[in-house]
Subunit: 150 residues, 2 copies
């Protein structure tokens, strides 16, 4: 079976496991140490250990020592990790709109406004709406419907 | 233990399970029927069945009958489902930049450009960069670091 080649699926292979994006949320908040992450996320220790290892191996986080004796590390975002900010903000906006009465967190942007994150086309500045996007596939045989039979 | 109240965590409760966002990707491609989703995603049937049920219950997809005998359904995006487009596009962009040599899919926008999706502040039009966002918490006691001890 040939599944659709897709960067969304690939990205979810890195950050799609339960708790991975919440780890990144904590690091964006400036929470970089294991025990504080455990408290704020409410995740089991063994699972969070596995998620952190995976995120480090994938180049999203890096381990930085803050104590030699005993050896202790904290987790910092790499450039690739920082570039996941739009994913988190898009999820936050959706959750705020559809799942909660009032946003638990409001982000003030340096422009002075409370952040309302919108995803726009870099070329024209407009939000892509239904019907405005047409896919082109690299792999021969693939269409929007799937792999064609011929 | 009091975990951080967070719309990202809430949103992941709806779309954060393995294959859920790939189901939505397929519906955005116009693939609305179970067997075609199975082929394109490469997911086990029982898991995809559970994901579809959860997405319908959460109001992200709706079942629309297309045959009476036998009874057959296809899955359509609700308004809430369509508003997940930015999440998928942000993940796609990140995967394209960090995980693949060449994008497997390029989306042509109706403005004429190949889509480069950027997440900007609605008020000022700029991308939020590191250090430009300051969180305000609704629940007393919470800070960026976590629940304060006092």
């Amino acid at each position: 079976m040939t599944r659709r080649q897709c960067s969304i699926a690939d990205a979810l292979g890195v950050v799609g496991e339960k708790y991975s994006l919440l780890v990144l949320r904590e690091v964006f908040f400036g929470v970089r140490r294991f025990d504080a992450m455990i408290r704020n996320i409410g995740a089991p220790r063994d699972i969070l250990t596995a998620r952190l290892r995976h995120l480090v191996e994938a180049g999203v986080l890096e381990k930085v020592p803050y104590s030699q004796r005993p050896p202790r590390f904290e987790y910092h975002l790499t450039d690739a990790g920082r570039e996941l900010r739009p994913v988190l903000l898009a999820l936050m906006k959706w959750g705020n709109r559809h799942l909660v009465d009032r946003p638990p967190v409001v982000w003030k942007h340096s422009c002075g406004a409370d952040l309302d994150p919108v995803l726009v086309c870099h070329a024209c500045g407009e939000e892509p709406v239904t019907g405005s996007l047409t896919p082109r596939f690299r792999d021969p045989g693939w269409t929007a419907a799937g792999l064609s039979a011929d």
